[in-house]
Symmetry: C2
Subunit: 342 residues, 2 copies
């Protein structure tokens, strides 16, 4: 059909020819190299605009080993928190002239490994990762790290020392705040549904929970603490177990919103009044929590701030080349969102 009219892209040579300059000078001008006259620079820029010139990323990347592309691995983009973080990252990177390749691991370790490999092969300039919940070994990122490619972990980060940068929410404080809130509103028999302790997220949230209980001299009933995959089904099962006992809890701190929602459903189905008989608080401020009846209290994680920080740190590292390794994680504050369920 319209195969003939391929409007071939103008190259640096076209600009060179038009201005009677060498391609080398054009390249320097376009890259704002200090050794080129101001007048020449502006001439080149003008001509480039006039010819609709667009740098060929691949040629440029091949020669300079820079792709101007950042990789991102995330469990699932449909998770509200991640969607927000990604949006912020993308908009910020865009301003700095970087592209973003977003990949989903579907929370599978094998997928995460494969993606790390692919993104390494794609020669991304940097990598941003929110790990799988099962990721405890990080050797699949070694290649990147030892090639000097900045790797930034956020949200779900390695537990032990790993030569990369970490940005995380204040999960300990989140757990602490949530639990204190339940206590302050009069609860004493508090249950806790959390995730597998292989992830820093749940280690910290649970630690915050225990700290608050201890501080208020409240006992933690081991039968009311769950560490399992945080699915709807698992949460309902846990609720069933707890509410078939002789003594039942009067409050629940769920380490994510999905399980808090499941718990609320369970309560409704079983005639348990929320918040009168059972107070519930979740984690993440998922949009659903504000819509369900009664609206769920939860912990706000400020995804936009997380995204902002990631890009800030990233640009710093890309500029300075060398990064300080082994430093403390950057911690983004969290806040309590109080609603009708507590």
């Amino acid at each position: 059909m319209n195969k003939d009219k391929k409007p071939q892209q103008n190259t640096i040579l076209d600009i060179a020819e038009a201005l009677k300059l060498s391609p080398a000078t054009i390249s320097r001008a376009l890259n704002n190299h200090p050794h080129v006259k101001e007048k020449t620079k502006s001439d080149v820029l003008k001509m480039a605009a006039q010819l609709g010139y667009r740098r060929n990323q691949m040629a440029s990347g091949l020669r300079s080993n820079k792709t101007h592309t950042v990789g991102l691995i995330v469990p699932r983009i449909s998770m509200f928190f991640h969607a927000e973080v990604i949006t912020t990252i993308q908009n910020a990177l865009h301003k700095h002239g970087y592209n973003l390749i977003i990949c989903q691991s579907n929370d599978l370790l094998t997928m995460e490994e494969e993606l790390a490999d692919i993104l390494y092969a794609s020669r991304v300039d940097a990598l941003i990762v929110a790990c799988t919940l099962q990721t405890t070994d990080f050797s699949h990122f070694d290649k990147l790290v030892s090639s000097g490619i900045p790797v930034i972990f956020y949200d779900r980060v390695p537990l032990d020392a790993y030569p990369a940068t970490f940005i995380k929410g204040d999960d300990f404080r989140g757990g602490y705040l949530a639990t204190c809130h339940l206590i302050e509103t009069g609860s004493q028999k508090i249950a806790h549904i959390s995730g597998k302790l292989s992830s820093n997220l749940y280690q910290d949230r649970t630690a915050g929970f225990r700290k608050a209980m201890e501080q208020h001299q409240l006992p933690v009933n081991p039968d009311w603490v769950f560490h399992q995959e945080l699915t709807h089904e698992n949460a309902k099962e846990a609720m069933t177990k707890m509410f078939s006992g002789a003594i039942v809890p009067d409050a629940l701190f769920s380490a994510n919103d999905v399980t808090a929602i499941a718990a609320l459903e369970f309560a409704k189905e079983n005639g348990i009044q929320v918040p009168r008989d059972l107070k519930i608080i979740g984690y993440s401020n998922d949009p659903r929590t504000s819509i369900i009846t009664p609206a769920l209290s939860t912990i706000e994680q400020y995804p936009a701030k997380v995204g902002q920080k990631i890009v800030e740190v990233l640009m710093e590292q890309l500029k300075n080349g060398e990064r300080e390794v082994g430093q403390k994680p950057y911690v983004i504050p969290v806040d309590l969102i109080r609603r009708m369920s507590s």
Copy 2:
């Protein structure tokens, strides 16, 4: 720090040397070229694996004008429907060895234009687009189209003839089904909150609405039909207007779920019983609709099917090179999800 131990990537030349073959043969073997002996192929593949060889995308792309990367422009990845479509697309493309660059227009036309430009410059092999609601002019995609790059529009597609491929939900049927359902459950005075008619989505959904009304010989009250941005606030305003009149509607078909939720909130706040006094149906089957009380009826759009179809059509076009232009849009069926609000 660890600058010294950059483990440089092995190239095609390393394989060539190891096997005493020429780089040309290696390249052909890796690309499964017919003119290379089976034995040689397997030798090369084995050695490539052994050396941990990964093709340099940029070199390959520069020479062959293929990036093995597909661009995607979407209003917002946090919209449930789009998140699901993207996930499907990504997983499918991944199996075919393609990368996906996901970009968000934030529903801004200027952003969409800029992104089309950037992705063109990035030499993506194909482009997938869900337009902005304001996009009525599509000339910013002309460059891509006339360069022979497959462009696939989905969900929000151009209204008039444009030489590209379209994949859309059956919005007319969705509007029709929703309205018929309201009528069949006993409603007669049906209101309709829709979006701006600049988008095919709302043209079609509204057309379906009108068709159903006409077929059942019910009048459409023009004061009860709104064409506005489908935000929470606008919906509440519309509801206020309608329910301050002498006659009030007994059912509402909202063209998206956000406004259906807003309408439900309005009803709750004003003591209007749903579904007794007012039946409500939304559109898209957003996760929130099943969680709100009463659960909202809505229209399921099967985002996974949409994603699947997109990739199917895309791979077809990438393989065959030439695409059939000006053909009918591919239409993905929709279904009614009946819940408590109707």
